[in-house]
Amino acid sequence: MADPLLTVTNLETYYGPIMAIRGISFVVPERSVVTILGANGAGKSTILKTVSGVMDPQKGTVTFAGREIQGMDPDRVTRLGISHVPEGREVFPFLSVRENLMMGAFTRRDAAGVGEDLELVYSYFPVLRSRAEQRAGSLSGGEQQMLAISRALMARPRMMLLDEPSLGLSPRLVKEIFEIIARINRERGVTVLLVEQNANMALHIADYGYVLEVGRIVMEDTCARLLEKEDIKEFYLGMKESGVRGTRRWKRKKTWR
């Protein structure tokens, strides 16, 4: 197999004195969908922030397309082809939907290509076309999530980092969004690194999965095999109510070590 598009080795990231990521390594092969599962506070968002350059790691390397990018400014990382869809959407509330999308294409100079991609994201999410002139802040949560994904797509990235795209969405919308993510991967060849608590959805669209616990990777396998594992079934698939998941996890957590 060729070199993976993204290779992370022995990454350590701190918030002040707090070590959020405790020496993590993983790879994301080109054109694949890789997921990182983990409960609240496991460090999922921190990993994505470190990859996209919003946070600098204390140790370790992030290699993207053969180039070390750890500690690089986020706007440079974006220019290299990584688009980050942050947790909580983070749209520009007072810009229109269309203006938000154009900001996603900020680093691009090919007006024709940008126009094509605008049509493309409108075809993925027709509701955005009908809301094109509306302020993004007035969209519903689900629409904002569609906008955040579309805005990242407007950069025509090689790789997308998706931070809990299903958060706060209805089950139907979650399904719809995951279908679009799978299509983006399949049709556009975009490599996807997906961070999720909704393990069921994530494991069904991803090829390979890592399980993160308190800043460490405790398990990794193909998603087909992860879906069969008892621990995964119990802690990530069995429980529908997310509130219970956190407390139950602690009782059995040692089985993974």
Binding site: S52, V54, P74, D75, R76, T78, R79, S83, H84, P86, E90, V91, F92, P93, F94, L95, E99, N100, M102, M103, G104, F106, T107, G137, R151, A152, A155
Partner: protein, 300 residues
């Protein structure tokens, strides 16, 4: 002999007051706009905004009177230099204090203002100067009212400048990116927008606008190192407009300009200088978010 139409004089006075009030208000509005642009982007309140206006007026004066440069070229040079100075201030000093307590930032910008004033008195002296302009001491009679070109130039200049700024922020890629960086800095980073550069550009625009205001103001006021104290009233205008609203800053400026001139004409001596603050108090008591203030807070 009394005038045949006693009402005409009163009307004439009122029209003059409206014209002059609008003009002075435009200056407040332009300086207030600078406050608001910087505040929206970086959450810093730049109390040196008025002193940037003073630097703009002095720089233009220097080019016109000392070096014999034409008015329009001098204006362009003054705006460019002060704008560049604003960007450098941001990149070297103010960027470091983002996130520090608001109080230290306020002290810092007040201190910078004092430094600019003493720089001005060293560079240009502490005398009082008059800037000769194409509009100086000329007037046209419109329907019996003498309309001074100096005041009209301020109003026309402000309207034109606002139109240009509006078009820039709404229709250009960089203008939109500045808005985006002001609304959600983190997301702007994710889009690959060079946020720090955008903030320096916002400082450049705010400083450039202040410089234009200074040059527009010069023919109706005299230039001295304390010209920048006008910034205090502009600050009141920004607060009146809701501090964070650009139309609010302009409307706030014009409101304060009109109130000031009318209270100067019709109220006992001394009211002129406090009228603006009295109105500010009243408006804030009734509508604490200012005239145009939004209830929704921006995401930081």
């Amino acid at each position: 002999m009394r005038s045949a139409h006693p009402g005409e004089d009163a009307l004439d006075t009122i029209l003059q007051l409206v014209l002059n009030g609008l003009a002075v208000g435009c200056i407040y509005g332009l300086v207030a706009l600078g406050f608001v642009l910087i505040y929206k982007a970086t959450e810093l309140v730049n109390f040196a905004q008025g002193d940037l206006l003073m630097l703009g007026a002095f720089t233009c004066y220097m080019f016109v009177v000392w070096y014999g440069v034409g008015y329009w070229v001098a204006l362009a040079l003054a705006v460019a230099l002060v704008a560049l100075f604003g960007a450098v201030l941001d990149a070297t000093i103010l960027r470091r204090v983002i996130g520090q307590p608001q109080f230290s930032v306020v002290m810092l910008t007040i201190g910078l203002g004092a430094i600019f004033r003493s720089f001005a008195s060293i560079a240009w002296g502490s005398e009082i100067y008059t800037l000769p302009t194409p509009f100086s001491a000329r007037a046209t009679r419109v329907a019996g009212v003498a309309v001074s070109h100096e005041y009209v130039s301020i109003i026309v200049g402000t309207v034109a400048l606002c139109a240009v700024l509006y078009a820039f922020f709404t229709f250009t890629r960089v203008g939109l990116a500045m808005q985006a960086a002001s609304q959600n800095q983190l997301a702007a980073y994710y889009m690959g927008i060079p946020v720090k550069l955008m903030f320096s550009l916002i400082w450049a625009i705010s400083a450039g606008v202040a410089a234009i205001a200074g040059v527009l103001l010069a023919p109706v006021s005299l230039i001295d190192i304390n010209l920048g104290f006008i910034g205090l009233k502009a600050f009141a205008a920004a607060v009146l407009g809701g501090f964070g609203s650009i139309p609010g800053a302009l409307v706030g400026g014009v409101t304060i300009g009109l109130i000031e001139l009318f209270s100067g004409a019709y109220l006992p001596q001394g009211f002129k200088d406090v009228a603006a603050y009295v109105v500010l108090l009243v408006v804030l008591a009734v509508r604490p978010q200012g005239m145009f203030g939004a209830i929704v807070r921006k995401k930081v």
